[in-house]
Amino acid sequence: MIVRLVQRIAILLASLVVSSVLVFAFMAVLPGDPARVVLGTSASDAAVAQLRGEFGLDRPLVTQYLSWVHGLVTFDPGNSYISHTPIGPQIADRLQVTLWLVGTGMVVACILAIPLGIVMAVRHRRPSGLVLSALSQVGVAVPAFLAGILMITVFAVEFGWLPANGWTPPIEDPVLFLKQLALPALSLGLVQGAVLTRYVRSAVLDVLREDYLRTARAKGLRPTQALLRHGLRNAAVPVVTVLALQLATLLVGSVVIERVFVIPGLGSLLLDSVSNRDLVVVQDVVMLIAMAVLLVNFLVDIVYLLIDPRLRVGAS
């Protein structure tokens, strides 16, 4: 158990180091001189040299890397090359917005996927199950931003029930906040829900074939009772894993959704920084998302170690 835990932590740390080196190398070494990029090709050598000094670009790469990592670890990633304002608070602000989106998207997905997936599995040979299954296939094929555009057309443009875009912090105006959150969260959640439905279905189908469920039936439980009492808990394990791993998809999906609904989240920050050639901010946001994904993977592994006794003893 302890050995496994240490092993997982070592893998996490190694992954973080390697991915940070990759991101840093990619952004810092390849594009040439960031100061030149910021100032444009017509800038004088003196101006470029001055900017290089200001951002510490004249230091050796290893020093630059270490100070970048130090900045990330201490939540103080320094100033933007373009706006010369601190990046940390900006990212924190934007992250809040994105977390609202991702969180509510995930809730919508669960509310949709868990009951539907179970129904689809239980009725997988009946017409109703097949129709639901076909519908979920269609749902998987619709990109979240398309769902967003279509929902704007229907609920904002056609009926005028909800605002087409914008963002208000919940403290300022809770009602408007919820109204503006509704469509983006739904578009993320519906599509993610369609994907999740298929995982729930296949997890429940797997469980339905298990011997212990047959035993439960033989004991005299009705199929629904047997599934509720013995099946769902077992089916939940892979579903929870997938849910956690979908965080990456949701984070990336929110990048596009933020653009559709004009929401000032992390994704908008990333896209704006790319168009402003604000490479440090791009580097930080990319690293942040990658770190989040690696951390979630790590946590899933740890939770598994804790709940599944087989993994504790058996070495691979």
Binding site: S15, M27, V140, P143, I149, V157, Y199, V256, V286, L294
Partner: protein
């Protein structure tokens, strides 16, 4: 294999019972012919239709898809303009036809990059000593932390946005899916008696990989290619929507959607046509992948 790997492999609807798939790829001599799965039929039809559209666009489109003509702005669908025209007076149907080319092209290159690197990587990871295989798989997990969209945005920040950058970035992001799957298949093949026999006969690892492993995991490659194609199409659409994909004037469904957004109150149909096109293509490749999997893997038939 970490717990995540295990759970993922088990839970993934796409994930295959590799053992069964490999077993079915092994010639059995007297395999009964089964009826073609419906998903294979529908998926195959949709995919052929899209290929047909792309081929057709080389010889014929009703109008020049890039021709800007202010006098016919925002026309409703008519016998002249089947899907109407956009805000620049360009024929939407012609753009959809031409856009299918972009979509397929991006899909092909992305899946090609992913398979060309991912398949050998998976085979090596499956045949190499255990520790080395595990090391490669950890590297794999690392790449998974950079989803296609993120990777493309990062690449675009450095090299500038464009179709080539998008295709390669989507391809790189898809490598882990291939590698993980093929490694699983390879591990199964390596346990078989014919590999043992080949090794006893003095065949080197390279020869075994080419003669025994690759043919036996090829069904997995085909299935993953189909599913990967769907993922690439989705990614390309999202990227073009964000302005990181195909640059104008080359028609692209994702960019058509982006351009339609400001016209939603006047002409929502401009969003519907490219939107439906994207969804149908993705659905087609997903169904094709599912159908092929059922075909290759009799044991899973019951599930879908």
């Amino acid at each position: 294999m970490s717990a995540v790997d295990k759970a993922l492999d088990k839970a993934q609807d796409n994930a295959q019972d590799t053992k069964a798939a490999v077993a079915s790829a092994v010639p059995e001599g007297r395999r009964r012919r089964r009826p073609m799965p419906g998903s294979l039929l529908v998926g195959g039809l949709i995919v052929s239709l899209v290929f047909g559209m792309a081929l057709l666009s080389f010889v014929w489109t009703p109008h020049d898809p890039t021709l800007v003509d202010a006098s016919v702005r925002l026309q409703k669908p008519s016998p002249e303009y089947w899907f109407g025209t956009d805000k620049f007076g360009r024929d939407v149907f012609s753009q959809i036809l031409m856009g299918s080319r972009t979509t397929l092209f991006v899909g092909f290159v992305a899946v090609g990059v992913a398979a060309l690197i991912g398949v050998p990587l998976g085979i090596v990871a499956g045949m190499a000593p255990h520790w080395f295989g595990e090391l490669l798989m950890r590297g794999n997990d690392l790449v998974l932390a950079f989803p296609a969209l993120l990777l493309t945005i990062m690449f675009s920040a450095v090299y500038g946005a464009g179709t080539l950058v998008a295709m390669i970035a989507i391809g790189i992001a898809s490598i882990p899916h291939f590698a993980r799957l093929i490694r699983g298949g390879t591990l199964q093949v390596m346990k078989t008696e014919y590999v043992l026999a080949a090794r006893a006969a003095g065949r080197g690892p390279f020869s075994i990989a080419l003669r025994h492993v690759l043919p036996n995991v090829s069904s997995l490659v085909i299935v993953q290619a189909s599913v990967g194609f769907a993922i690439a199409v989705l990614a390309e659409a999202a990227l073009s929507f964000l302005g990181f994909g195909t640059p104008p004037p080359t028609p692209s469904w994702g960019r058509m959607l982006q351009e339609s957004q400001e016209m939603l109150s006047i002409a929502p149909r401009l969003a519907v046509f490219p939107g439906v096109a994207i969804a149908v293509v993705v659905l087609g490749f997903n169904l094709l992948g599912d159908g092929l999997r059922d075909r290759f893997d009799p044991k899973l038939e019951d599930r879908r």
